[in-house]
């Protein structure tokens, strides 16, 4: 690349940063990620468009009801995330929410969240609860609003554009001192759900807590996730999405890509930094840099999925 052209790209990139979101775009082909700066990708719309059609946007950890120093107005930052999604040139087909919709499982918090979500231009939203949504023993408030898809079990699957989506719940059967748990019944259901599906079907699995162990001392993992991975291993394109840790962590293992999303509410510290995974206070002007959404596009040739993170900055 000549110096002149690189300078132009940089100018374009900075221009895009001024009005668009900053983040990293990932292309995935045959299980391998290629990260591209989002602003640079946005500068070349034609090339970006050729990467595929936007399939879905992942929203996570909206924590409606949180009002502490780390972000006194989580409704406003969720609203900005919604504006960002609504402003995409090409609207994705779906929204996935990977849990902690609310902070304290309160009815009023769920109501506020639903009012905010109703502003999304994309009307099809699929959810999985976080432990903050299920703090009431019976999970009544969450299931009253979002339980229909799973018959109040918390796990279900659906198909869209040839992609098979599996929504799992790993926050109900907590064990003192342990990690998240899927449980034997849910794992048996997954086996049944995947049975007979072609290995060429792209699979998206989403749950709230990470489905691989990121940091056990803070419970950032799922105890019986290895049994789930055994069932997914035969598929050619598997994308595993989680929230919970309020920051991006990624891993590629064979044909499986693991991705945790940012929160739209507040950041959390890096694993092991500080006493625990509580709200991290950052200077107010830096907050948009650490909040955001993830969008995923379906790439037709080869048929795979592409991840794309955007901050609110």
């Amino acid at each position: 690349m000549s110096e002149e052209r690189s300078l132009t790209s940089r100018r374009q990139a900075l221009k895009c940063l001024a009005y668009g979101g900053a983040g990293t775009l990932f292309t995935l082909a045959g299980g391998v990620f290629s990260p591209i700066d989002l602003a640079v990708a946005a500068a070349d719309r034609q090339a970006t468009a050729s990467l595929g059609k936007p399939l879905f946007v992942q929203i996570s950890d909206t924590h409606i009801g949180f009002n502490k120093e780390a972000n006194p107005d989580v409704g406003a930052t969720l609203s900005r995330s919604i504006d960002l999604v609504n402003g995409l040139a090409q609207q994705p087909a779906l929204i996935l929410h990977t849990g902690d919709i609310t902070h304290l499982s309160k009815a009023a918090e769920f109501d506020t969240a639903q009012q905010l979500f109703s502003r999304l231009r994309v009307t099809e939203m699929h959810t999985t609860p976080g432990e903050h949504d299920t703090a009431d023993a019976t999970v009544t408030e969450y299931f009253n609003r979002f339980g229909k898809a799973s018959g109040n079990k918390g796990y279900y699957s659906f198909d869209h554009a040839g992609v098979h989506f599996v929504s799992l719940i790993n926050v109900l059967q907590f064990k003192p001192g342990g990690l998240g748990t899927l449980g034997a019944e849910q794992l048996a259901w997954v086996a049944q759900d995947l049975k007979g599906r072609s290995a060429s079907t792209p699979i998206v699995v989403f749950a709230h807590m990470p489905l691989w162990t990121i940091y056990a001392p803070w419970g950032w993992g799922t105890e019986d996730a290895p049994q789930l991975m055994e069932q997914l291993r035969r598929f050619g394109s598997v994308t595993v999405l989680n929230g919970h840790i309020h920051q991006i962590v990624q891993k590629v293992e064979g044909n499986m890509t693991f991705h945790t999303a940012r929160s739209t509410a507040y950041p959390q510290p890096l694993a092991g930094q500080g006493a625990g995974p509580g709200p991290l206070k950052v200077p107010t002007e830096q907050l948009p840099d650490v909040l955001g959404v993830t969008s995923v596009a379906l790439v037709q040739h080869p048929r795979a999925l592409r991840l794309d993170d955007t901050t609110l900055a």
């Binding site: 502490k68 304290l104 703090a135 907590f174 342990g178 803070w218 006493a275 995974p277």
Partner: protein, 111 residues
């Protein structure tokens, strides 16, 4: 009674006094557990007399719950400074954890 138990009995008595004359003299001491700011129940284990009331107070910016491992009691999500109280009538060892942060565990021994 251990030194720690004695200390908490004293704290309990002080709390009762602070609450005013309406509080009736209890045959068993009330105890308080404070959830520290660092994602731990402190103290992790306490011993109380049967009939004692234990109060948990959340001192973190993050919500916590108090959930009995045996299914005996379960608090709602406690926001900062929210409390949950449970009375232990029968002697035994009661384990509990925070369902939001299952690494937070504690024990109440009732004599």
């Amino acid at each position: 009674m251990s030194l720690r138990g004695l200390l908490f009995s004293c704290v309990g008595v002080l709390l009762l006094c602070a609450a005013g004359p309406a509080v009736q003299a209890a045959s068993a001491a009330a105890s308080t557990i404070v959830m520290a700011k660092d994602f731990m129940f402190a103290p992790t284990s306490i011993t109380v007399e049967a009939g004692s009331t234990v109060t948990w107070t959340n001192k973190d910016d993050e919500p916590h719950t108090v959930v009995s491992a045996e299914g005996l009691f379960r608090s709602a999500a406690l926001d900062t400074d929210d409390s949950f109280t449970f009375r232990f009538d029968k002697p035994g060892t009661y384990r509990y954890a925070c369902s939001i942060h299952p690494r937070m565990v504690g024990t109440i021994v009732v004599r």
